[in-house]
């Protein structure tokens, strides 16, 4: 149980980068960008191919980020210069990327077993200092059964995610970032203040997909393989993370919202890993579980809201009835 939650935390933090990308396109730019399903794999493929060809994992990951950025820019170009509807531009790019990803990989699956990845190199450094021991001691003292293999992955994932979060927070408050947010909020207005909304949309989608590709590159190195099908449904997972996070942690400020999105991604992973522990469910049911989680996250707040509203109305009605009956009683007393 603990081990599976620990694993969910690790991968949740890496998937949080993808969720931040989805937050940028869906929420900040108000652009439902489906490129994500493709660019996630592009990131993974790029990193995997470069690693098996002997490149350093850091260089491979950076290359993955750049490719993701370019993919996002193309979606932006299709929409702004080609005047294609946002959903369709994303779907077109997603389909195109499927073939491009196959070309990059040259085969449909690249195993990374035994290769040096970011995680394997950090882990060996971490373990050489024996840094996991104190954490395991704490866990042991708390009486939790089982100890994870290493804490290195959790820490590197946490650090990378927090760095990206802070960069995002800062960026969205800069002059360019403000214009980007306004593009998603009121395009006519920001254009009248001399902002080139086309460039902003292209750049925004580029950054969004760069985050997604970074997440893909790290997931490939974490899982030990890149597969051409690993991006299917990724956009829904990203959306689920954003929606769950926003609903649970609020959206008062930008910093709060990005934190909520990361939290949402982690919680989503934990829910899925717990669901998979149910004997009846299989790994193949994961997409169905995802769909159900998203539906629940979308529908529940509305139901709660309407119930609250109904209760409020009933209470008001009861109060008024009480006042009326009191007045009635008063009149009768006066008459007698």
């Amino acid at each position: 149980m603990f081990i599976s939650i620990f694993g969910a935390l690790e991968s949740g933090l890496i998937y949080a980068l993808m969720a931040l990308g989805v937050y940028l396109s869906f929420r900040v730019l108000d652009f439902p960008d489906l490129t994500v399903d493709g660019s996630f794999v592009t990131g993974a493929a790029m990193a995997a191919v470069m690693i098996i060809n002997g490149q350093s994992p850091v260089v491979a990951t950076i290359a993955a980020v750049i490719t993701g950025f370019i993919a996002g820019c193309f979606t932006g170009l299709l929409h702004t210069k080609g005047k294609i509807n946002p959903l369709l531009s994303g779907i077109l790019m997603m389909i195109a990327l499927y073939s491009i990803n196959l070309r990059i990989m040259g085969q449909s699956n690249i195993p990374l077993l035994g290769e040096t990845t970011i995680f394997s190199s950090v882990t060996s450094f971490w373990e050489s200092l024996n840094l996991s021991a104190p954490f395991n001691a704490v866990i042991g003292a708390l009486g939790v059964p089982g100890t994870p293999q290493t804490w290195a992955i959790l820490f590197i994932a946490l650090i990378v995610t927090l760095i990206i979060k802070c960069i995002t927070d800062y960026f969205l408050k800069t002059e360019v970032g403000l214009a980007l947010r306004a593009t998603g909020d009121n395009q006519k207005m920001i254009r009248s203040f001399s902002a080139n909304t086309d460039i902003l949309i292209i750049m925004g989608l580029g950054i969004s997909n760069a985050f997604v590709a970074l997440s893909g590159a790290l997931i490939a190195q974490h899982g030990g393989f890149a597969d051409v099908g690993m991006g299917i449904g990724m956009i829904i997972i990203g959306l689920a993370s954003v929606i769950i996070g926003e609903a649970l942690f609020g959206t008062k400020t930008i910093a709060r919202t990005t934190l909520a999105v990361i939290g949402g991604a982690v919680i989503y992973r934990i829910v899925v890993s717990l669901a998979l522990r149910v004997d009846f469910l299989e790994t193949g049911d994961m997409k169905l579980i995802t769909a159900i989680i998203v539906i629940a996250a979308l529908v529940t707040p509305k139901i709660l809201e309407s119930q609250r509203e109904r209760r409020r109305r009933l209470r008001k009605k009861a109060e008024l009835a009480e006042v009326a009956s009191l007045e009635e009683g008063g009149k009768r007393n006066a008459a007698t």
Binding site: T174, L178, R181, D185, S192, S194
Partner: protein
């Protein structure tokens, strides 16, 4: 400061719905001129504003702002020179962003946007100072989301955002039409105050004839895509609504009963 010369624009040319939106439009505004534009619906007032702002491109003719031709300059580039307030109070601000963020975006209008924080302590002081001139107490609500403001407050903010960087041209497109009478009066007074303060070259479209007479130093009337009446400062002083309507009848020789209802 602003010249339009021989501007033509036709919508849906060669079809059943062909509409000659602007014909032979010539206009010359000097620095500091405040022009009010009246005319019935479909007369071409807003089209002319959109030609100036670059939202629409003319079929023929030239637009010159501050001695540089801008006819084919893209809308967002031209926006460095032009401040705009729209009819819809929701159109001029970003609702999910705060007052200070909206002002910061307006502040960057005529500068290159950089990767430096948009809202700084120094700028906040500046924004507060400008907001005080609106007398709406917005200076104490810098970090409130603009979506929470009332229509009148949003329009006042839009007006401030459009003007405090002192654009070459200010375009006001029926910017008080969607407000209740008292709010409309407030915005009208603010407009006069701000235009005077920054000595802005202004074009204002209005359906309110009294407003068109009260504000500005020059008035034009448009009909069917043409400027049919041009009144300068000295004549405008003793102009009344009745005189304007008579003038229109004389020029067009048409009954204006309907228009009177619209314009009155």
């Amino acid at each position: 400061m602003l010249q339009l010369s021989q501007v033509f624009l036709t919508f849906n040319e060669g079809t059943m719905d062909e509409k000659k939106a602007l014909q032979h439009v010539n206009l010359d505004l000097k620095h500091g001129d405040f022009l009010t534009i009246i005319g019935s619906n479909g007369a071409g007032k807003s089209t002319m504003m959109n030609i100036v702002s670059g939202s629409l491109l003319p079929d023929a003719g030239d637009v010159v702002i501050d001695e540089s031709p801008v006819t084919h300059l893209q809308e967002y580039k031209r926006a460095q020179l032009i401040g705009r307030v729209f009819q819809d109070p929701m159109a001029g601000t970003a609702p999910s962003m705060t007052i200070e963020e909206n002002l910061a975006m307006a502040w960057s209008r005529n500068k290159k946007r950089k990767l430096i924080p948009g809202v700084t302590k120094k700028r906040k002081d500046l924004f507060r100072e400008h907001l005080e001139s609106l007398h709406l107490g917005l200076e104490d609500r810098l970090s409130a989301k603009v979506g929470l403001l009332s229509g009148g407050e949003r329009q006042a903010l839009s007006l401030l955002m459009a003007t405090f960087t002192e654009p070459k041209i200010l375009l006001l497109d029926e910017h008080t039409a969607a407000l209740d009478p008292s709010r409309a009066e407030l915005i009208t007074n603010l407009t006069a105050e701000i235009v005077d303060k920054f000595n802005l070259t202004t074009m204002m479209v209005t359906h309110n004839m009294q407003q068109a007479l009260d504000l500005g130093n020059r008035l034009i009337m448009m009909d069917k895509g043409q400027i049919i009446l041009d009144v300068d400062e000295s004549e405008k002083k003793d102009l009344t609504i009745d005189k304007l309507l008579n003038e229109f009848q004389r020029i067009r020789g048409e009954q204006m009963a309907n228009d009177k209802a619209i314009l009155g």
